[in-house]
Assembly symmetry: D2
Homo-oligomer: 282 residues x 4
């Protein structure tokens, strides 16, 4: 389907297409007010606004329930829920079992299933993410799951509409890059929590693990714009050094910064066991 | 009085001397168990142990009540409470009034008077400290006031015993130094909070303002040893840049680090508006 | 012409095509030994080998003479020598005159014309480059001009062969990025000299000026591989600060590093007036 | 002898005393023009001026010849030339022999004996210094030896005049501190060359090796003031990493900076294998 194919659908068919991208009724009715859409960016931008600013907890939870439950062993060993999660299939039986257990623990703790944009993630990475995220409180996990759902929504838009001008869609507004300057290599497998200062408290709003290049490509969903304010990224450098048997001085690195506009923010970390630097990059 | 003069006093006179250094009965009786003392360091070390580990909130508050109340305008305009606070006298009438008001607000909020080791501090610096510290919670202020009382105790020891081997007394176990590498100058007038990770929470345990050389000489009382664990220093860099009309990227710089032994920890900060570094110095 | 069109030409026609890319007879005969070429990368790689390792000063100078002389006012005000240099045309009369003068000075000093890969460079940038490069010695300028000629050769290959797999051609093996962390902005218009340690001396082998993003995209020609050894980049930070009326501590920043293999080397500079950092990036 | 004892000596006796501190006749006659001296700093300051700005190569070489030759095995195994060099005595026979050989090589290359302020230096450190300094050219070694002679002169002043106000004598105008932030330890045993930009060339003017604290206390003689200009310190980081079997990216670190006034310059280096920083400290 091309973009104009979408715009030329009747309302009922359009709703059917969009509902397959995100399962919240409130989100759908909000988004349909903008139909037809000016272009791909307009679609994503309206989807973002409806999701973050018009929906509430009830709506977010409703969307989560439309994901196939991937918490049990049977479902985890099959290929389900679309292409996003196919990498899970390659995991060992033990890993699958650990994932199943972690999913179940997660749902027990928070009352909703674990939502993650699984594209490109292995079962091992998903388990690591689950184990990291289960330490958050419920409000934080709701923030993170919202972001993950929105990433999934955008990915589904991209599958739905072929050959679209998706290249123009801005990637994550906030990016980072961890370099281990003792090794001259990227700092990989480091958990990063992005926190916002919300209602007088620091609250995690996104979370990920650095890849082999020391980056998290989708710390924020594409097109998502942070409101002006104070944010911080917390890098779990203690775990990083423990895992490589290096004695480090920094249990965590906590970089607080100001977001003042819609421009791109690149905030890298240069780390070594007894020193680190950061700067606003470009 | 020399150190051996002190050791040669009878118990009653010794108690009189020591009670003038810190007003807690529990502290005094604990300290007297160690009398006579091996040397100056032994006296300070026992005083520290009694104060931090044998006393409790009741004892700390009792010691605080033995300070002359410096909160009202009359007392602030005189020279009182020993040499430590003489610098206050030079302040203007408005400043004195602001100090009086801040002292009163402080006592109303926390239920005890503002304790600060005033040596070398001007009235303006004391006001700034009061305004900074009043933002803390009561448990944090109790921590900080304990440290300040202990610094005062050690200063009084030094006045009581002439020509002592005080040079061997170790200075603050933790030191820092702020350099503004945009200016090539020390970062002065920056509030720093030292926090410990206590009972699962970050709690301020000491607080100060950098001097003209970008340092806080007595962030910790001399001889005080931190228990192994996680600590952080939080530098109020946002205020610093606001006060110099520079637009900075960092509302605060938060350096978390591990204390593993009794050695000296030097943790400097090199700051510029869009980048900073830290390292473990020597 | 497609790549296979080239390979299907007879020898004479192929020579005519390649001779238009670089005017050295020795280079051409060396390159023709490799005809037909396996693919685009093979062509570039052989061209590089012939140029750097089979040709000598006579051959390099011969190639330089095949460039239209761009040193006089008339030629500079026209559009000549192919698309590479069209940006020159937009310059003012004064600028053109200054360029003509600088070209003439250059030729008088070194005995060959100023060779520069002008793609994307304005007349002002070219003048700045001329004024920078004229300070080098003849051996250094010969090195630099060789590199510039090779960049031009590769650009001409790309124009000659349409739709080729040029995307696979590796960009500059060595890259840098200057960030001014006092401003949170790229460090632009900074002259950088790349020097190699050749026969016991440091000799400039490439030279450029950082663009608006603080980078020099083509410090080395695409596909060019540095021999293992010691290299340094010298950043003219004194001029940079002078031009912005900032008092800086560093007349120049000189970063020496080891090249040990064919991998990509990213060596950024984070600069502020009284401090700087560098690291091997990725 | 007190300072006023010195000032009360007759001219002949004063000359005898001062001649024992530095063996150049020109220096002595220049210095005697300032006799009697206002205070210790005045003596040192005049001695510096006479030495650096009134003497020439002939005078410097004359002073060097007044040092007992310490190049042969016999003399090296004894204790000679005053207290400055007593540490040499503790060395093993092999070390003494290597020292003797190196001294002889040095004198053969430069035509004057190896001058070094040996205070606090072991025979091993002296050998390392000899091996480092023999790589310099003659003009550079003359610069360095001049500085070493002046340090010796000042040390002899201090021994000659008891209980003097030597504490007020400023230490080295330029200091550095190397920290290895991979280890959280000082960078020790690193050769540093201080170079000045003299007559259009970089020339080594002082040289030393970092001690266990990562510092060189006397890189410049006490009281010596650098003329405004460009200077650089070159740190032999390649050797440092080689000696600790760490693969590093930096064969050397070369920090160029501007001296604009008589204030103290602290220029530290924070090094790790794939990154480094420097700043102007305080």
């Amino acid at each position: 389907m091309t973009f104009s194919d979408l715009n030329n659908l009747n309302v009922e068919d359009t709703e059917k297409q969009l509902a397959a991208c995100c399962g919240s009724k409130k989100w759908l009715s909000c988004l349909m007010k903008g139909f037809p859409f000016a272009n791909e960016n307009d679609l994503v931008s309206k989807a973002e606004n409806c999701w973050y600013y018009e929906c509430n907890e009830t709506d977010w939870l409703e969307a989560f329930t439309h994901h196939p439950k991937i918490g049990d062993v049977k479902s985890l060993t099959e290929k389900f829920a679309g292409k996003e999660q196919e990498s899970v299939a390659a995991a060992s039986a033990e890993l699958i079992e650990a994932l199943a257990k972690a999913n179940s623990d997660y749902e027990n703790k928070f009352g909703f299933i674990f939502i993650v944009c699984a594209t490109g993630k292995s079962a091992g990475e998903m388990l690591r993410l689950l184990q990291d995220r289960i330490k958050n409180n419920r409000a934080e996990e709701l923030n993170i799951a919202m972001g993950e759902q929105h990433k999934i929504t955008v990915i589904r838009f991209k599958k739905m509409i072929d050959a679209a001008a998706w290249g123009k869609l801005k990637a994550s507004q906030l990016t980072t890059h961890v370099l281990d300057t003792s090794l001259g290599k990227p700092g990989k497998n480091i958990t990063i929590r992005l926190k916002g200062f919300i209602d007088g408290h620091w609250q995690t709003i996104a979370q990920g693990i650095t890849n082999n290049d020391g980056r998290i490509a989708d710390l924020l969903p594409p097109g998502r714009i942070l409101k002006p304010g104070k944010y911080k990224m917390v890098f779990e450098t203690g775990e990083y050094y423990d895992s490589t048997n290096v004695k480090g001085f920094y249990p965590a690195v906590d970089i607080e910064f100001s977001v003042t506009d819609e421009s791109h923010y690149h905030v890298p970390l240069l780390i070594n066991p007894f020193g680190y630097s950061t700067y606003r990059g470009s």
